[in-house]
């Protein structure tokens, strides 16, 4: 049924603007998110383009100095350039989030696909195992794992990956289940295609678009969790430049040097925002439903 015929034309205001809805619900958000991500990638990969001091370079005479020509974002309590540390933190913060995401997918993709395709008892056991991990609040489990491994960036990545994979595996399983019950997948089975071929040629292509949405939104939440852990002092350890850790170091100098707080916080927010915007943008592009309106 065509979704356009179901609307009530008489009550539609500004009918000429409908092309906006037809080309995707908010393409602006998606474009903005992609631009932000490309920007972060460029800054992270090409730090040498900007002539900045090393992130660890201390200038003890210029401690806590406000933004100036020499230090565009000021210096911190050890006289280190905040801009240099901010940029030095891009590969650390984003790299940590991406490696946690890779670990999560490395477990959850096979877990979800195998559970969905095997079905029966295997499925029940695998999902019950995932449920046990999911029974703990995610950040609480990550905290406990870090507690037993000792505080470090690697421990926080492992802790987050261990706590985040089960929910992802559940989503993957649901996607594969709904994808493998389509008629053309059954037809492929019946016409003698091997299981491997059905999975690779018919099931995976169906789940890739929704999976991209999930990955993007999950990366945002993983990034948020990892920077929170660093902020608590149990993620990246000094002197590693990391946005959350920078904010943690800035806390005692809160009243004297507010400039130390603004930049790292904005950096985390924009990075998380970028992944969220891409995820939501993709979701609304994929969303073909049309709600009824008055």
């Amino acid at each position: 049924m065509s979704n356009q015929t179901l609307r009530i034309p008489a009550l539609r205001i500004l009918p000429r603007l409908t092309w906006l809805t037809r080309t995707g619900r908010h393409p602006i958000g998606l474009a903005l998110g992609i631009m932000l991500l490309v920007g972060f990638a460029l800054i992270g990969l090409l730090p040498a383009l900007l002539d900045l001091p090393a992130p660890e370079h201390m200038d003890l005479l210029a401690r806590l100095s406000p933004p100036s020509a020499a230090h565009p974002l000021g210096t911190d309590h050890l006289g280190r350039d905040v801009l240099a540390r901010l940029i030095g933190a891009v590969p650390v913060s984003l790299g940590a989030a991406l490696s946690a995401m890779v670990a999560i997918l490395a477990i959850s993709l096979p877990w979800g696909v195998i559970a969905a395709l095997a079905g029966g008892r295997t499925d029940a056991v695998m999902m019950r195992l995932a449920d046990i991990i999911m029974a703990f609040p995610m950040l609480v489990l990550a905290l406990a794992i870090i507690g037993f491994m000792g505080a470090s960036l690697e421990a926080s990545i492992l802790g987050v990956a261990a706590a985040w994979w089960p929910s992802n595996a559940r989503l993957v399983r649901a996607l594969v289940l709904s994808a493998s019950h389509r008629d053309f997948v059954r037809a492929a089975y019946l016409s003698g295609a091997s299981r491997m071929r059905v999975v690779l040629r018919h099931v995976l292509p169906q789940i890739l678009p929704p999976l991209a949405v999930i990955i993007s939104l999950e990366t945002a939440s993983v990034l948020l969790a990892l920077s929170s852990l660093s902020f608590l002092g149990i993620g990246a350890q000094p002197p590693t430049p990391e946005w959350g850790a920078m904010l943690n170091e800035a806390r005692p100098f809160f009243a004297q040097a507010p400039h130390m707080l603004i930049a790292p916080g904005l950096a985390v927010t924009f990075a998380v925002l970028a992944f969220n915007l891409v995820g939501e943008g993709l979701q609304s592009v994929l969303d073909k439903r049309e709600p009824y309106r008055w």
Binding site: G29, L129, M138
Partner: protein, 312 residues
């Protein structure tokens, strides 16, 4: 209904057992020998026979599963040993800090529910441009890290305006800023879900019929859509509560709220394993009970499910 609760509890037993096993295994598999650490904490250079004696005292010379069942037997009686750092029993430590954390998490959940229903339903019912604007606000709020938001709120309300104080004594007025911090981010995330749910219900035929009957937006939202999305929302609220239990750690450490967050951060720094283990068990149990209540709410809010369980 009683039958449903019993069945649900019985089905949860394996999960509870598994949870306890995870909580035990994390300690057992943790790097570092607890005996050596305790001896070092006491400042003793250990002799091999001392180590063996202490291992026997703690039952560490027994096989893995025997130790697990010993531990489980004590855990069901809430005996988690003594804190290595303070020397008090772990239960005493937890009981001192738990009420503050629960108060914070529950008030943040209430705030988040109000925020999410407002944001979500406004975004779904508003016109194209207002809706896009509201969704923009939502995605921004979801993206702001709570620790940074907390620092900004402190800067504005404590340092600039002087409306609140930072070093509180755990009274109710000190709860406002941390609860607001937590509920903004979680409320926005839930609001996104409320929006999605309302949107998908609005694509259903029964809404089309209601519009054709001449019902107004509020009547359809409250009379038709709200009962349908109440169940899924209750589940989402329970999950959000789990997130809030974790989130309290961050916010408590910034606002100096005397909850479990302070305790666990100290325990991690001092590698106080019994405290971390008990924290994991308690948070898991609280989250478990919350999910159970949500499941009940789902059954109660769905007439079909309710009838099925009352017929049996």
């Amino acid at each position: 209904m009683l039958r449903f609760i019993l069945v649900r509890l019985a089905a949860a037993l394996p999960t509870l057992l598994g949870m306890s096993f995870v909580a035990f295994a994390i300690v057992a598999l943790a790097p570092g020998d607890p005996v050596m650490m305790e001896l070092r904490a006491m400042g003793i250079v250990p002799k091999p026979e001392d180590i063996a004696a202490i291992q026997a005292e703690y039952g560490l010379d027994k096989p893995f599963f025997a130790r697990y069942f010993d531990w489980l037997g004590r855990a069901v009686r809430f005996e988690f040993g003594t804190s290595v750092a303070t020397g008090r029993t772990v239960m005493a430590e937890i009981m001192i800090h738990l009420p503050a954390t629960l108060a914070l998490a529950i008030s943040a959940l209430l705030g988040a529910i109000v925020i999410s229903l407002t944001l979500g339903s406004l975004a779904a019912m508003a016109g194209q441009f207002a809706g896009a604007g509201l969704r923009g606000v939502t995605v921004l709020l979801v993206s702001v890290p709570s620790f940074w938001l907390a620092l900004l709120l402190i800067y504005i309300f404590v340092l600039r305006l002087g409306w609140a104080r930072l070093v509180g004594d755990g009274s109710l007025s000190d709860l406002i800023l941390p609860a607001v911090t937590l509920s903004l981010a979680v409320g926005a995330a839930l609001g996104r879900m409320v929006y999605e749910r309302i949107r998908s219900e609005m694509s259903e035929d029964y809404v089309r019929l209601a519009i054709a009957k001449g019902l107004g937006p509020m009547q359809i939202l409250i009379g038709h859509i709200a009962p349908r999305i109440a169940g899924p929302l209750a589940t989402a609220w329970a999950n959000a509560f789990g997130g809030l239990l974790g989130g309290t750690v961050i916010v408590e450490s910034i606002f100096g709220w005397p909850g479990l967050g302070q305790l666990i951060l100290e325990a991690i720094a001092q590698r106080d394993f019994p405290v971390i283990q008990a924290y994991l068990v308690f948070m898991g149990l609280i989250f478990f009970v919350t999910s159970l209540i949500a499941d009940l709410a789902v059954v109660l809010s769905d007439p079909q499910l309710r009838r099925r369980y009352s017929d049996e």
